[in-house]
């Protein structure tokens, strides 16, 4: 196999690396909250609906990227309006997802250009990112990071114990809606890099791996971001340098899963070495029994 390190001097490769890094950082940051709030299906739904936004963008302004971005805000609004109660959330997302995908293919029917431009979003088109798209990505990434910085504490509170957060004055509904918006925007941008079908590898997998290794919320957030970066940039390098004819998306998912597998092994090893507090319930019961016996 020939290594093409010289490709990294080319503009397409540098654009792709910047785009992958930006998307990885925001995906890694929202990931732990997605898991804590049980919103994996919202990630999947928002990712697939990026197709609809892209199709609408192509039809209206011949611009799939802006279309997907505007579409993500509409999707967040639809999820937020229809899924007020937690129990109806998944079904509401399913309803919006079904309609949205149907609408996406319907719109593509009227588009006279190349359908593949919209369909590219299903599998990712990282190596064809242009300067304009980089500019949008930088803006989106900065906005998402700023919003997550402001939301961080009340979002954590509302995710861990919504009843108490509400009583303590957190506007849990507003915080939840703002996070949903950040999720939809992030996922839509990630869809354009790794592809709709593989977004979960950047949002869920790195955060899930991080949770295996630490219970410290700050450490989990940091590890999740680093893991997403390693997967996105690593997968892209493999593609550009070694295997140009296979999409980067596949390598990104392989690396993400590899990190997850290693994290699980490391966590299991630590437990069997007894470094982790694994059986607190047993010690608790013995306390209780002792107290009863003493009484």
């Amino acid at each position: 196999m020939t290594a093409h390190w010289d490709y990294l001097h080319l503009a397409f490769a540098q654009h792709a690396l910047i785009a992958a890094s930006l998307v990885a950082v925001i995906s890694g940051v929202i990931g732990p909250f997605v898991i804590t709030r049980g919103m994996s299906f919202a990630v999947h739904g928002a990712a697939e609906l990026a197709l609809t936004g892209a199709a609408a963008g192509l039809l209206i302004a011949n611009d799939a990227v802006s279309g997907a971005l505007v579409g993500s805000v509409v999707v967040a609004g639809a999820f937020g309006v229809l899924a007020v109660r937690e129990r109806e959330r998944d079904s509401a997302i399913g309803v919006v997802l079904g309609l949205g995908l149907g609408l996406g293919f319907f719109l593509l029917h009227f588009y006279n250009g190349f359908e593949t431009e919209a369909l590219n979003i299903l599998v990712g088109q990282i190596t064809s990112v242009g300067t304009a798209q980089i500019e949008i990505l930088v803006g989106v990434a900065l906005a998402v990071l700023a919003a997550m910085t402001v939301l961080y504490r009340p979002l954590a509170f509302a995710s861990v114990d919504p009843d108490l957060a509400e009583a303590r004055g957190v506007r849990t509904r507003l915080v939840g809606l703002l996070f949903l918006l950040m999720l939809c925007v992030t996922v839509t941008e990630a869809a354009q890099v790794v592809g709709t079908v593989l977004v979960l590898s950047l949002v869920i997998t790195p955060a899930a791996a991080a949770q295996r290794l630490s219970a410290d919320p700050g450490v989990v957030l940091g590890l999740s971001t680093v893991f997403a970066l390693i997967a996105a940039v690593g997968g892209l390098l493999v593609n550009i340098v070694y295997v140009p004819d296979v999409r980067a998306s596949s390598f990104i998912t392989f690396i993400a899963f590899g990190i997850y597998a290693l994290a699980r092994i490391a966590a299991a090893a630590r437990q069997s070495l007894g470094g982790n507090r694994e059986l607190p319930i047993d010690s608790d019961d013995s306390d209780g029994t002792a107290a009863i016996n003493a009484a």
């Binding site: 732990p32 898991i35 804590t36 910085t149 402001v150 939301l151 961080y152 504490r153 009340p154 954590a156 509170f157 861990v160 114990d161 009843d163 108490l164 957060a165 509400e166 009583a167 303590r168 004055g169 957190v170 991080a210 949770q211 295996r212 630490s214 219970a215 410290d216 919320p217 989990v220 507090r277 694994e278 607190p280 319930i281 010690s283 608790d284 019961d285 306390d287 209780g288 002792a290 107290a291 009863i292």
Partner: protein, 281 residues
């Protein structure tokens, strides 16, 4: 003694709560003094949690007056500590014991918490108050129910509140931890003058320590010392049907109450012996 201490911490006058046609309770006149330990009792659906929500400013009275620490209840009042009914934490939740406690300090503020010695010191002190330092760095989802409940107490007490509201804090705890939690609350109210409203089904661990009980049932209410309220006459009048209260070895057992007390959510904590009748433990 400060001036505020002589005023009631909770003041309810002719308070009523109705949901549509249904009257949850009405004509409720009840004051709580600083340092008082009140057990709030009653069957499922009698409005015990709703009473706490009124005091937290999350639920409006249908009519009547309510004051908390001298003013109308307001959401986010730092002087009110709250331990909501326990829901277990997910095993993999990325949250340590001390993070849970810290949410009680500033979890409602926007932004990322900046590490500071003062902040760490207050969390450490709150952890030490409830004896939870040992597992402060463990994942909360992997702690036992008793350990989690201690952390929730530390979280609620961190702001040194004038009023502490606890919703079924003894649910699914073993006898040892029921005693630990009630003694913790009792010590707090004696040392800091914190008034306590303690919603519970597990009355017997609490009764030796409480000053008064507030019993809600069938849209009516009764209050007074435990031995005054927990009698066959008072409870029969309250429920509007014959209810027997038996005292066995210092424990109160209530039999025959409609809407069986043991039919509460999270009923898995019942002692097998309780299955025969409605028993208030």
């Amino acid at each position: 003694m400060r001036v505020a201490d002589v005023r009631p911490v909770v003041h309810l006058h002719d308070a009523a709560l109705r949901f549509g046609e249904r009257t949850v309770w009405s004509g409720l006149d009840f004051d709580v003094a600083p340092g008082e330990f009140i057990a709030v009792l009653g069957p499922n659906g009698s409005g015990k949690t709703s009473l706490l929500k009124v005091l937290l400013g999350l639920q409006r009275l249908t009519s009547g007056v309510v004051e908390v620490l001298g003013s109308a209840p307001s959401r986010g009042n730092k002087m009110v500590g709250y331990v909501p009914q326990q829901k277990g934490f997910d095993r993999d939740l990325p949250l340590r014991g001390r993070d849970l406690v810290a949410l009680g300090l500033d979890g409602h503020r926007w932004g990322i918490p900046l590490p500071s010695r003062a902040r760490r010191g207050r969390v450490d002190a709150a952890l030490a108050d409830v004896g939870a330092q040992r597992y402060a760095k463990a994942a909360v989802g992997r702690l036992s129910g008793g350990e989690q409940q201690r952390l929730r107490m530390a979280q609620a007490l961190l702001g040194d509140p004038g009023l502490l509201l606890c919703d079924e804090p003894l649910l699914s705890l073993d006898l040892h931890h029921q005693r630990v939690i009630t003694e913790l609350v009792d010590r707090r109210r004696r040392e800091h003058g914190t008034a306590v409203l303690f919603v519970t089904h597990e009355v017997n661990p609490v009764l030796p320590l409480v000053d008064r009980v507030l019993y809600l049932a069938a849209g009516r209410w009764a209050s007074g010392a435990p031995e005054e309220v927990l009698t066959s006459e008072r409870l029969s009048a309250l429920y509007g049907t014959t209810v027997e209260v038996v005292r066995v070895g210092g424990r109160f057992i209530v039999a025959g109450a409609p809407d069986a007390v043991h039919a509460e959510p999270g009923g898995s904590h019942h002692h097998p012996d309780d299955s025969a009748s409605a028993i208030l433990r």
